[in-house]
Symmetry: C2
């Protein structure tokens, strides 16, 4: 789909390299008819004024006002789409109750396609309004409802990677909500892959299918093998949960005599296109294996506080240059905002460093090593997520997809208070990362298309 | 000041007892000319319809729409008013840099009364907009600027307890920012107390003075003694930091051969009207002492993640029925929202329970005992804070001050998604606690006065 080229005059913040903030003050961003960044000019570059004047004359100039900033779109590496109605609910009950009484019955309702369409439309609107330009979704076991999610993302313009969930083990999965058997699960996954690829063909599809075994405990060996064949045949992304909790870690070790990561690798499910949610209990050997395969990790600090029994060793993963991004993990996590994700990644890394138990002496309480900072957190939510998914987006560079958001610090409901002459641009960025909410997001673009409207070109 | 009585027709949520949610569906709340709750009627009570009709006829009925709810106002038990411009900034530097390069130079600027007035007006507006109806403020060492904060709170209608900070120890405090000496600090504190009481006289003053030694390490013995005499003579609230970090705990033990709490008690500074910020490193004996004195604790989970070296043992404190509330601790904490405070109290309690270090076996990693739930968190932010301050507010009961907020779940920027027929009122309350932001707060009342306007009476 051809779009109308346009030029943005904006001060942008981005973190193209891990932990490094670049402030692009009053730059011109030219977006081409394919929705890619054709050019970026700084005020010191030749032709800056001419280009700006020309765009203004053509009425294709979007000029940001004081207090407005351009940021890369946010990337959610782990979210359960069907759990959207449950967001912020039932987090006061034990995991077993959460799963059996709330989550599985809710996911089972997506057999009803009308219900699915209603919720998924609300979901995608809600995420876009929070600045999520790319989402890696777990859907449900239902092919038609999962395809409806793909259609909705496409229609609303959100970049999405979507998996029909596979869970076929009758011992671990409830009767009312599981695949009939491994053969059916594999066949329906293949149909889903083909249907999504038919929906969004071409070399740069906005929506892609993902092979999605829920996690090893919910799948038979036969299902895991069959999905691995599909992954190879279709060169597809793969997503699953990995070593989230003590229980999950121990279950896989008992079943296969090796770790979750090693077991997935044994099935051929650990590839450059694999995203492992959580991975809190991976050890050094697992880290080496995951890094060697080029697989990515979706760090979900908020849901981990509730259900994971421990924090993900984020600093260690970053220091190894592993592929890591952030997931909201709705509804194990209650917040749809990846700004919240950044903030929880930050506070969790602090608590991991210092420890939490005051009765222990400091040297036994904490884990040595620096916590992450806000630039690293924002990298995780943008360029890090894009790297993990191998997508050409996540920062502002010539040739990348223009996935971005306009953040307005001066809206009525803003908690970002900037004091001129006191705050540097670097301070402004930190204030945005730490206090931006839904209400600060005035506009969102994906692949150059404006999918949430705020201000008009001037 | 007499106000116009009015009647609210609303579904209200409150937690008058710790951990117990009461849903008052479609109740009528009559607010008298003193700003107190004169009466609460349920639809089953005699006279409900007549009262509603009469209020409508008098045009004093405020009727909430679908999706709007009434909640008690939020109480911030620990906030550094002068650090408002620094909110969300400089949290990537070590504590020593944060203090010496950022915080003390910023606080020193409040010698400039114009600067103070500008920032404090922005601060009080920002907190009211976040639903904070009562705040216990640390100001600075400057009497005039601290008094300006009192005037601004009074003018804007926020309930406030304000302390001119005392820090007179030349070894611990920077030359550019400390009291001249103990005598001056005590004299200026006394003048401040009298000035605030002259500003807000009467039995139910909206604004009150608070005796505020910054913390033991920054005060000489002479200052601590003098402040304790003032506390007794004026029957004043007291606030200070207590056992926040390893360093602070050890410093006091080295200086006095006993804990922070015991030392404060020795000086006569631990009373029913004392609020201790943080208190992460208090032991059983300290807890018993604090509970016996009836002093309160301001739990600040967010800033603790950054600067405290450990988490406050909240469950243990609640199980002893200690007086505990929540503080934002701006700008050690970056969020002005006590809803965020609730959320950080929740996730911290989870992480304290399960532990954070995945390499430890589960039995060594965590601390046994239940985490807190969202009803307890909301109690901390409302009735718990009121109890700690000994103020007649924090829930909806006849005779209490009407400090409340109108929470609108259906505003454009809401992350609270309610599904009719799927969410119970209890679910709605949990969704509010976990996802309410600034943008959801449509109206705020303190002592019956509407201090943030949204909808009009219909």
């Amino acid at each position: 789909m051809k779009k109308r080229p346009f030029t943005l005059a904006a001060t942008a913040f981005h973190t193209p390299e891990r932990g490094i903030l670049e402030v692009l003050e009053k730059h011109l961003f030219s977006i081409d008819a394919e929705g890619r960044i054709a050019d970026i000019l700084s005020p010191a570059d030749d032709g800056y004024e001419q280009k700006k004047e020309a765009a203004r004359a053509e009425r294709t100039l979007v000029e940001l006002a004081a207090g407005q900033f351009l940021l890369p779109g946010l990337i959610d590496l782990h979210i359960h789409a069907p759990q959207w109605p449950q967001m912020g609910k039932a987090l006061d009950v034990p995991l077993e109750v959460w799963l059996q009484k709330y989550t599985f019955p809710l996911e089972a309702k997506y057999a009803d396609l009308d219900f699915a369409r209603t919720v998924y439309a609300d979901l995608v609107d809600g995420l876009i309004a929070n600045g999520t330009t790319t989402a890696l979704y777990f859907a449900t076991i239902h092919g038609p409802a999962s395809l409806a999610l793909a259609e909705i993302c496409l229609a609303k313009g959100q970049r999405a990677l979507i998996g029909k969930v596979v869970m076929d083990d009758p011992v671990q999965c409830p009767d009312f909500y599981r695949d009939a058997d491994a053969t059916t699960a594999i066949k329906e996954t293949e149909q889903f892959i083909e249907a999504v690829r038919a929906l969004a063909p071409g070399k740069r599809p906005l929506v892609q299918p993902v092979i999605t075994p829920r996690f090893i405990p919910s799948c038979t060996d036969e299902a895991l093998k069959g999905l691995s064949h599909l992954a190879a045949r279709y060169d597809c992304h793969v997503q699953t949960h990995c070593s989230e909790s003590d229980w999950a870690k121990t279950f896989v070790e008992d079943r296969f005599g090796q770790s979750d990561a090693a077991s997935l690798d044994g099935f051929g499910l650990l590839t450059r296109r694999t995203i492992l949610a959580h991975s809190n209990f991976i050890d050094e050997e697992d880290m080496n294996l995951i890094a060697a395969r080029g697989a990515g990790i979706a760090h979900c600090p908020l849901s981990n506080a509730y259900f994971a029994n421990a924090a993900f060793p984020l600093r260690a993963a970053l220091d190894r240059h592993m592929h890591v991004g952030l997931g909201t993990d709705i509804s194990g996590g209650y917040s749809p905002s990846l700004f919240d994700g950044c903030r929880h990644a930050l506070s969790t890394s602090r608590m991991l460093q210092s420890g939490v138990h005051a009765h222990l002496p400091p040297q036994e309480r904490g884990l040595p090593g620096a916590p992450i900072n806000h630039c690293e957190a924002f990298w995780l939510a943008t360029a890090g997520g894009a790297q993990a998914l191998d997508l050409p987006t996540g920062s502002f560079r010539r040739g990348l997809e223009f996935d971005a958001l306009l953040l307005d610090t001066r809206v009525a409901h803003s908690d970002i208070h900037i004091y001129d002459g006191y705050d540097t641009p670097e301070d402004v960025f930190q204030k945005i990362v730490l206090n931006a909410t839904h209400g600060n997001i005035a506009k969102v673009w994906v692949s150059g298309r404006e999918i949430l409207k705020g201000i008009e070109p001037r």
